[in-house]
Structure formats: structure tokens, C-alpha cells
Symmetry: C2
Subunit: 160 residues, 2 copies
Amino acid sequence: MAARAAVHAHTSHNHRACIDDALATARGLCAERGVQLTPLREKVLQIVWRSHKPMGAYEVLDELARSHKSARPPTVYRALDFLMAEGLIHKIESLNAYLGCIEAGAPHSGQFLICRQCGATEEIVDPRLETALEAAAGRAHFRPERKVVEISGLCARCGK
Amino acid sequence: MAARAAVHAHTSHNHRACIDDALATARGLCAERGVQLTPLREKVLQIVWRSHKPMGAYEVLDELARSHKSARPPTVYRALDFLMAEGLIHKIESLNAYLGCIEAGAPHSGQFLICRQCGATEEIVDPRLETALEAAAGRAHFRPERKVVEISGLCARCGK
DNA sequence: GACAGGACTGTTACGTTGTAACATCCGTCC
DNA sequence: GGACGGATGTTACAACGTAACAGTCCTGTC
Ligand SMILES: [Zn+2]
Ligand SMILES: [Zn+2]
Ligand SMILES: [Zn+2]
Ligand SMILES: [Zn+2]
């Protein structure tokens, strides 16, 4: 797998590299696992990765339909479901939208920082926060499986 | 404000007391703030509090319509929006459903433990987790405003 | 080569969740 | 009385998501 640059969603950067990296990683993981990253699924992944802003399913559909006339809601949702199952994208529950995963291959629920100003959403992988979540659940005698953490506010750039 | 029993959502308890307490607290807070907890809004709050399972807006609507023939989606969404604005209920984003707040009056984003087996959802107010969220955001130079924390899994009872 | 099975995609139709926009009602203030 | 602001009534629609069945394509088997 290609080395991953430490890019922050809200900063300007060579986003082409983000996309190429995500696609290469996805191809590698799917090959390893013996699942099919079909052209359709890859195209949807590419569309989701067009930016660091979570993208709604119908927005993906509109994009997809430009090159794929037969695209319908199930087309998109099936691809999104596949990509989520393989850990290649996340759903942002508070926005009903989807975002490329920056740590594909390492199973995890995402932790997200969503800028309400610019929309850029950064996935963080913070072991201390993960520990705190486990501990909080443990104190309540709860066995956690999926952890949704979505923090909205202002990113470094928009926060002045 | 009435003293609040430390009740866990998944355990059996005198739920009537939960409801009475929530309504009393709501009336007190709205009076203090000079906002109107109208009969309609109070009824919706009561319906949301019927259980410790998050309730969908259309489920609320069905209940409400039994006693309020003119109820329509906007009727319910306006009441839910008011109750959220006053911090009397929370929206559970991962379920598109609504839950009574156990700490009304103390402004906070909720932290929730959602049992996938029995559906009971417990709101926790865990200062250590809160601190960890703030710290994680801070390390990313992010200024948090709203924090969505929804942990799904098995509650103490369902986890065997 | 026929054929059964499985994975993927096409297609139609519908279910669920949420909102815009405008009308009406009602109490308060001048 | 008349203007206003807050709350509710009412219609229509937008946005998000899924069920169900049909077609395609590949592959393994006989
Ligand atoms: Zn990028
Ligand atoms: Zn991720
Ligand atoms: Zn209770
Ligand atoms: Zn609360």
C-alpha cells in the first residue's frame, strides 16, 4: 500500500494524490480479499473522493449518471453499501452523506470533525479518544460494537 | 426541579416517574425562559417519553394523531424542533429518531448507548469522555460545537 | 455444449424522513 | 380597531432509502 501523506481535509493540498492513493489502496484490498471492485464501484468510490466534503447519495447519483445513463438510486446505494462493507468509505450519520475513508484496511468506526462553515470533514484516528469511548461504555456495563463520533464546529482555517 | 433517580434505560423501573419528572422539568424550564410549552408540544414530549427507545417522527405522528386529528408532519417536526432547541429531547442521528433528554437544563450534546437487541438507549453524561472529545478536537486544531456520540452494541442485560 | 448457480446490474415502484410555502387563528400592544 | 408576532393548519413536495423481480455474465459441472 502506498505511503499516505498526512493531509488535513481543510488545507490546500494535491488532492489528486488523495484520490490516486485511495483508489490504489482499494484495488489492493479488494484483490487481497477476493471481492470485486467493479468499474461501477470504483467509479462511485472515485466520485465520493472528489472532495473532502461528505457527499449525499443522490449527489453521487447525479455525478454517476453523467457517464452511466442507467444509474438509478439502487445502483448507487448498492455500490455505497459494498464500499462501506469493505471499509472504503464511511457514512456521516448527521449529514446522511458519505466520505472516503483515510484508513481503509484498518477496521474502525470513524471519528469525524465536520466544519459547518466550509463543509470539509476530517477523519481522525485518535487512540486516546477510542480508549475514552471504550471506558465510558465499560463504566455503563455496555458492550460497544459500532461507535459514531461526529463533531461539528469550525476547522482551523474557518475558526480564524 | 425534582430530584432525578439514577435509572438505567434497560432496567425495569417505575417509568411513570421518568415521564412525570421530565414533564415537570420541562414546564419549569420553559416558564423560566419565557417560552411556551403549549399543550401540543407537551403532548409530543410525553409521547417521546413513552419509552427509553428512540422514536421516529412518523411514529410520534401516529400516536399524536389519535388525539389530535389535524396532526401532520409539520405539526410533529415543529414540536420536535422546539423541544430540541430547548434541550428537552435529542435526535439520535444514526436512527433518525428522537429521545427524551435526562439532563434537560444543562446544555450538552448527548452521548448515547444504543442497544441493538432491545433498542433501549441510555443517555450518559460522562465528563471524562467529554474531556477526551475536546482534547481530540483540540489536537486537530478544531473548535467543536456540537458533538454526536452514539455507541451501538449490547446493553448489560442483553450482553448476557 | 447444456445447464445450474452465483454475483452483479437494470428497472420499476414504493416507503420513509423531512421541509417549503402560504393560510389561519389568537393574544398583545399601540 | 389594526398591526404584530407566535403558534398551528394545510397542501404539496423534496430528499433519502429499499423491495422485488428481471436480465446479464461468468464459472463449474455433467
Ligand atoms: Zn485531498
Ligand atoms: Zn475511516
Ligand atoms: Zn424510565
Ligand atoms: Zn441530554
